[in-house]
């Protein structure tokens, strides 16, 4: 072990640290890194890995950050104890990022001057290229096996059971014995080198645990695609855009599995790659108008293009489900980074007085759950439903509770008037509020030969869908739509509150992918004697509990991943909250928010307000 450190003690940690891999995009590192993450989980230790990748297929720097946490903190924590620096391009900044006392793993084939290292970290050099060049002749093999080789070396360095990794490789290449042998061989080369040259394990160790339990490991996009299958979607129309593309890919592949007619191989679903996002949402609206469950998946630029149609669907009262996997925007580059910056664009999408229902899942479990539920909501409310996730949740695999489904549950298709009801003479007014909840009845095209047909259009109509430019008809309609939005309040998932260990005058509101980092941040704060109650918002329009929560506190931090504080804006606007009581905690550089960032911001804000931590108060 070439320890350059003289001043700083090497960090000692078991099952609780951050490893970061710095790689070159397109070098095949992604699957090796994932293998390593799975190896740690195979040891029973929870891991939260995140890709930080460029808008590029090959050549630019890419990072893979792994939060290892026995306690199950699955957000980004911030900081890094072990850097696996495989990219000369980003070397300096990668080296600089290692925590004092941390570790730097690198390919030592090429000798680097001492000045490129740091005195306060432990350097672990393995001549990966040299070993590869000796062992392999094919350039592609040299690259791929180099990746497996560092996995082998790290397996030894962190004290991971080699058998666990062997098993994963055997699973991955099942049926291809040659590949299994070759990969295991490369793994062993790395493992042996590290074991021979360093005292293994180093200060960072993985120890067997049962922290992972029953949890599953999947990304949010796959979960949304599966949710759409379970939710009964039969039509998907889309246009490719990162980071949402894999929602549709997942839907298609789950449909091939679950929705192929076993008798004739025919499809009980239709997926159309449209010419653009306008056409995608148009197809969704057409299919939903015609009684199928339909959805699209997109990201910010697609949301922008769909605006006119959102208005049409809102006013014509056509169900639609939109998965918006948010990213930074516009253009290319930041778009492969994560953000929660489309809240306002979705909440008030389109021209005219529109307002839309939004759902905020926190992890793949909720992506599945809300994804399926969105179709019931769209049918019940006859309006577009936006499921807002983001790149971090959508494209990274996350550990989450296993999916569940109640077989007794039937799809709720909402208020659809049947041919029998029409025949029996039931009064049908397409835009008539018969139940006082603002939700009218609809009929599906083709229902009855002479009753229940109507001409769908925007707002220019009366309660019976007849053409009308009369002001009173317009007002009746708008007031009914407001009532419908009130009804939606009780239908969207309720917020989840968490009380601090001690009474507090301060609260924090957050949503979506901020959730796991928030959970750890609250514990970090509590450790400093700062107690904050928290509320996770799961839907818009805001349930009454959200307003009550704010009113119970002197001030509430609104933690989100955008620059303008969009949830805060919505709260101010929709819940008529005094802006002074809502303190912004904003993270928007394109990387997922970290627990340390949140706790730091909240602690700073409270000390600026000269709030004495509760612990000190008690002590004095």
């Amino acid at each position: 072990m070439s320890t350059m450190s003289t001043t700083t003690a090497a960090i000692q940690a078991s099952n609780d640290f951050v490893i970061k891999f710095a790689n070159v995009n397109g070098s095949g590192s992604a699957s090796a890194n994932e293998l390593f993450a799975r190896a740690i989980m195979g040891m029973g230790v929870p891991v939260a890995p995140r890709n930080i990748f460029p808008s590029n297929i090959q050549g630019l720097p890419t990072w893979y950050e792994m939060r290892v946490s026995e306690a199950g903190w699955l957000g980004r924590r911030g900081g890094c104890e072990l850097m696996v620096a495989m990219n000369p391009q980003s070397w300096d900044r990668d080296v600089a990022e290692v925590a004092p006392g941390g570790y730097l793993f690198y390919d030592s084939t090429k000798v680097l001057p001492r000045s490129r290292f740091r005195e306060d970290i432990t350097v672990l050099g393995v001549p990966l290229t040299e070993i590869c060049n000796r062992e392999y002749t094919d350039p592609r093999q040299r690259q791929l096996f180099k990746n497996i080789m560092y996995v082998g070396a790290l397996t030894a360095l962190l004290g991971i059971d080699l058998g666990v990794v062997d098993g994963l490789i055997a699973d991955q290449f099942r049926g291809k014995d040659k590949l299994i042998g070759a990969n295991i061989n490369a793994l062993k080369l790395g493992y042996t080198y590290a074991s021979d040259h360093f005292a293994c394990p180093i200060g960072l160790r993985i120890e067997r645990s049962n922290g992972v339990g029953e949890r599953i490991f999947i990304n949010g996009n796959d979960a949304c695609g599966l949710g759409a299958v379970y939710g009964g979607a039969t039509v998907a129309a889309w246009y490719p855009i990162t980071p949402s593309t894999s929602v549709i890919e997942a839907f298609s592949s789950y449909c091939r599995k679950f929705r192929t007619d076993p008798d004739n191989g025919m499809a009980r679903y239709a997926v159309v790659q449209a010419e653009d996002e306008l056409a995608s949402i148009g197809m969704v609206i057409g299919a939903s108008w015609n009684g199928a469950r339909a959805f699209t998946a997109t990201s910010g630029p697609g949301i922008s293009l769909m605006q006119e149609f959102f208005g049409l669907a809102y006013f014509a009262e056509v169900p639609a489900v939109i998965f918006n996997v948010q990213r930074g925007g516009p253009s290319t580059g930041m778009p492969t980074r994560t953000q929660q910056s489309d809240l306002i664009a979705c909440a008030y999408a389109s021209h005219g007085d529109t307002k839309h229902v939004l759902l905020f899942p926190e992890d793949p479990y909720e992506c599945f759950k809300f994804g399926a539920q969105a179709f019931d909501l769209a049918d019940r409310l006859q309006t577009p439903i936006f499921v807002l996730l983001d790149l971090d949740m959508g494209m990274n695999d996350h550990l989450c509770q296993p999916f569940d489904w109640d077989d007794q549950r039937l799809y709720d298709r909402g208020k659809i008037m049947t041919a029998e009801e029409l025949e029996a003479g039931k009064n049908f007014g397409r835009y008539l509020d018969v139940d006082g909840d603002g939700i009218p009845y609809r009929t599906i095209p083709g229902t009855h030969p002479s009753k229940g047909a109507f001409f769908s259009r925007g707002t220019t109509r009366n309660a019976y869908a007849k053409y009308s430019e009369t002001g009173t008809d317009y007002i009746y309609n708008m007031e009914r739509l407001r009532r419908k939005f009130e009804t939606a309040k009780k239908m969207v998932p309720a917020p989840v509150a968490k009380r601090a260990a001690q009474p507090s005058r301060f609260g924090a509101i957050y949503y979506g992918s901020t959730s796991p980092a928030m959970a750890e941040a609250l514990v970090q704060l509590a450790a400093q004697g700062i107690h904050v109650n928290s509320l996770r918002v799961r839907g818009f329009p805001f349930a009454d509990e959200v307003v009550d929560f704010i009113n119970e506190h002197d001030a509430v931090f609104v933690v989100e991943q955008n620059e303008s504080g969009q949830l805060r804006m919505l709260l101010i606007n929709e819940a008529e909250i005094d802006p002074k009581r809502l303190i912004r905690v904003l993270h928007y550089d394109g990387t997922p928010i970290t627990a340390r960032f949140i706790s730091g911001m909240i602690a700073d804000a409270l000390s600026a307000r000269q709030v004495t931590p509760v612990r000190k108060q008690v002590a004095s």
Binding site: F217, A237, D261, M266, E275, L278, V284, G291, A292, T447
Partner: protein, 353 residues
């Protein structure tokens, strides 16, 4: 369960089709278009075509974009569901509707601004996808509803009411549809219902994307001397290549045709297209020939009408997607939802320790 429409109280000698419907059963609300507008004649032709074909009105879904033309679906087939969508985007909404229920008949109504200007992208892609629909463009060369600006089908040299001469190259939607793979392409004139009605009937019975570009003069903004979309101009320059009769399997063929003057095309659903030749060399099964012919005649300032192209063995989008026969909107929970057992198996495959 099937429900029957209640018969209207009409004089006993009112003509009825085989299903017992009268023409009035195919009508809609009173038109609010200008008196003499070509679009109203097209609505009347749709009514007649559906009556003649014994279509149950509620089995039609009519969709449109925005414009005077796109308002017309309110004025026919009052017992059908209709959707007045957004400007230029009817094709995508229709595509989605057609995906949801393959059993209905889809009628798309659009204008030249709606299809050739703002909506040309969606127009093109619906044609190339083979959406099973009848797509009517009510083509007047102007934006009627926004008061007479040129549209993208206005001919170069055509003069506006205010005397402005159009200098931009026109888009020929029929020519474009041919290039894009539409499988039934026709052009007609709102002032010639003998030609138009059979063309609509043939299209309604066609499996695949059928486009009819109907020149439909705007009496208010584009019917003056110097316009190439006026009643007079179209009458003078109409170069019809053929005349169509649509023969249903139930019909007895009574007319007799001189030898060599008729072409018989059997469509997917058994309906037969009888094409009486006007131009004896014109071959409506030759896509490239049709494209060339249109270009040649366009240069001569002529408006080619008739059934320009038909592919009687066409396939539609559902065939391409291999969707089940049962309409997707009729599939129920038991076939759609894989259930908790499948989910448990999936969970097991996603476990990591």
């Amino acid at each position: 369960m099937t429900f029957l429409a209640k018969p209207n109280l009409l004089r006993p000698d009112t003509p009825r089709n085989t299903l017992g419907y009268t023409r009035r059963d195919y009508e809609g609300a009173i038109s609010t278009l200008c008196a003499g507008c070509g679009h109203d004649s097209i609505s009347a032709a749709v009514v007649q075509a559906c009556f003649d074909l014994d279509i149950e009105p509620h089995r039609v879904a009519k969709l449109s974009g925005i414009g005077c033309s796109s308002k017309t679906p309110d004025y026919f087939l009052g017992a059908s569901h209709g959707f007045n969508t957004t400007h230029g985007r009817m094709p995508s909404v229709l595509t989605g509707a057609a995906l949801a229920n393959r059993e209905l008949i889809y009628l798309g109504v659009s204008g030249d601004g709606d299809s050739a200007s703002i909506g040309i992208g969606q127009f093109a892609h619906a044609m190339r996808r083979g959406v099973n629909m009848t797509y009517l463009v009510e083509n007047n060369g102007v934006y009627g509803l926004t008061k007479g600006q040129f549209s993208a089908t206005a001919d170069r040299g055509s003069k506006s009411k205010r005397g402005v001469v159009n200098s931009e190259t026109p888009i020929d939607l029929a020519a474009l549809a041919l290039q894009l793979g539409a499988t039934y392409v026709a052009r007609s004139f709102s002032g010639d219902k003998e030609q138009l009605i059979p063309l609509i009937k043939g299209a309604l019975r066609h499996l695949g994307s059928a486009l009819i570009d109907v020149i439909s003069p705007c009496v208010t903004f584009n019917n003056h001397a110097g316009s190439t979309k006026s009643y007079d101009f179209v009458r003078e320059h109409n170069d019809a290549v053929n005349r169509l009769d649509v023969i249903l399997p139930r019909d007895k063929i009574s007319a007799s045709y001189p030898p060599g003057s008729l072409r018989r095309i059997v469509q997917h659903d058994g309906s037969v297209l009888h094409l009486r030749k006007i131009d004896k060399d014109y071959d409506p099964s030759d896509r490239v020939g049709a494209m060339n012919y249109l270009q040649e005649r366009h240069v001569l300032g002529e408006i080619v009408t008739g059934l320009l192209y038909v592919d009687s063995s066409a396939e539609d989008l559902h065939r391409h997607l291999n969707t089940v026969e049962m309409p997707l909107n009729k599939l129920q929970d038991d076939t759609l939802c894989p259930g908790s057992k499948a989910l448990e198996a999936l969970n097991a495959s996603l476990r990591s320790s």
